[in-house]
Symmetry: C2
Subunit: 429 residues, 2 copies
Amino acid sequence: MSTTTPPSATTRTALDRATCEALDASDPLGSFRDRFVLPEGVIYLDGNSLGALPRHTPAHVQRVITEEWGTGLIRSWNDAGWFAKPRTVGDRIAPLIGAAEGEVVLGDSTSASLFQAVVAAVRMRPGRRVIVAERGNFPTDLYMLEAVQELLGGGEPLERRLIADDGPTLDDVLDDHVAVVVLTQVDYRTGRLHDLAEVTRRVQAAGALVVWDLCHSAGALPIDLNAAWADFAVGCTYKYLNGGPGSPSFLWAASRHHAAARPALTGWHGHARPFDFTVDYAPAPGIERFRVGTPQLLSVAGLEASLDIWDDVDLELLREKSLRLTELFLSLVDARLAERWGIVSVTPRESSRRGSQVSLRHDDGYAVMQALIERGVIGDFRAPDLIRFGFTPLYTSYADVWDAVDVLHDVLETEVWREPRFARRGTVT
Amino acid sequence: MSTTTPPSATTRTALDRATCEALDASDPLGSFRDRFVLPEGVIYLDGNSLGALPRHTPAHVQRVITEEWGTGLIRSWNDAGWFAKPRTVGDRIAPLIGAAEGEVVLGDSTSASLFQAVVAAVRMRPGRRVIVAERGNFPTDLYMLEAVQELLGGGEPLERRLIADDGPTLDDVLDDHVAVVVLTQVDYRTGRLHDLAEVTRRVQAAGALVVWDLCHSAGALPIDLNAAWADFAVGCTYKYLNGGPGSPSFLWAASRHHAAARPALTGWHGHARPFDFTVDYAPAPGIERFRVGTPQLLSVAGLEASLDIWDDVDLELLREKSLRLTELFLSLVDARLAERWGIVSVTPRESSRRGSQVSLRHDDGYAVMQALIERGVIGDFRAPDLIRFGFTPLYTSYADVWDAVDVLHDVLETEVWREPRFARRGTVT
């Protein structure tokens, strides 16, 4: 990765690399970068898919393994607070999403947590038999709704209505048959950001409940679920929250719903008295009723370490830097790539409608991204034609943005992406 | 922990500690003990609840964190084989349970895997509306059946019939309404072992499918699911398999059922083409259709390390030692404790009906177990009155058994368990 301004950086924007370096020098979040391990020669713009490794995570997980497991053994269920982890770690996520203590609990995968939330919500609107979702949702949300339809549709079928940013709109499909609306706050492909409070209000005005998927917004921007009077939310912790590969999902339910929400998966960790070993299920009184089985504690340990960093983050500063990073990227793309190669962003230009990522359209996006990755700029590809760049304010610098555009310019200029080794094949994550 | 014969070891059995030491010296599995970390001063007889830490696990997990996550970042989904882990690690579990390659996949918790298996099985017997389970099952199995009843019972209710070792029996309840029978091979309290092949045959003779819960048998004894022509099985990996706290569950489905089995939870990792990001769900062709969301890879790493040990284990030798350990324990209890304190085992004496644990009944079992733990003998308590001892042939020695009975003798003799600090309170794991 070039660290000085390379020859191709002759741009038509007023910006130059020195300006970016100056922005980094005065960045109030600049010191967070040192708290992460970033491999040499890599500009990592895929923290929206898998967050980078916090520097102290290895030691923390090691301690959990050797001390809590190795020495504490079974005693750690009580002594190290293992049994309570899904709740106590949930309480540490709460401030990041505008939740109160006792409203957030860890789950297994986001898919499973979404299932828990949607089934509970549908059951709270008996007689209403429609679920609304977005065609552009990350597919697992749609797939899990098929599960909900199949499982809850035995008596009277559940209908799924799909909306999209280019229509049909929410207003087109909302009526008094709608039980639940499932929405992703930030679209995983375009980066489009919903107005959480405004959309929640419209859903609830129709008498429905809203389930928010925060996978691409938790840790990317401030979220205030309680201020929005939202109903349910789920999210993942391995993207912006840097909890580690596959770290556990979380589920939020507004406390006003706890007593009425019947969990779909009635496992023993969600029981009111799990160690009475009774024959019949009785849900725990609060958010813990959404627990299922034994939490995967090594993965929980990874998440706990990353939350040590989040304890120190000012989310308003985070959002400010996030928007500056994406704005800088969009400006540089416009100035250096748009006209010459017809590169178009599918990400909203209005900052109030943008998450912390930018996606560009390119007919050979897969090959272009492979060529970028070979040069150390790691983003990802989303079928059929999007190259996606995530900007994680805790460890992405303004100079990274400059250099990434520079490398992209070079990849397009040299047409290196046309080389056969970059052709698409096999599994793509 | 005493390492020489203590004064209280005046017994009426022919055995003495020297005999136990001799058994250890000639134990063909003796060398495995060095591959585990066992804390000083502890006799660990709770490996049936949480297995001990393999010595090389910390380094393995560390490598996954620093190299695969820290350096590989998102690239490790392909380069380190992350995406395939639930299947490739499942293939390493397969030989332990008599499964073929491609028949085992990792899940989240056992509860969730059981849900997946039971829903799939019930759907394969349309028209039959009864699920049979054991009253003595670990409760989460029963609780999850309530979830199945609630979710699949919308059209026509599903009935749950409970059997027990003291009746009603399987034959009492089997008829042509029964869709699925859910059985735990080794009872978590009594250690009673079902004859897997014989019971499977009886269930299938009634036209039903069987779902086996192997939580207390996988890694405790040889299992041959395919020889028994079983249908589905689930199990946990953090007990005898030593995968670490909350390490992922596994699900086995006979390959003859793969094409017909519709998963309950239709997440994107179980999709036929997950990276096509299509709107509609289509199940993967094989066992991977039972996957749900992103696997918790730090916990998977712990499991992988423990399977390195299992690769080297002869399961027939394991079973032989397991039975010798439990037989020794039962003999010593009979000889030294039974008559004087009325201590009774609830575990079958016939070795063919016994898993790898022994449970003793004591009215003040909770306090007795707390007193034992204080003296370094770690078993556990199961309400209302059982003290439970698990014997893990890879790291439990014959001398451990001698010493444990010796400490139990001492706890009963001195009546130390009557001290108020051992009284039951709060959460008990």
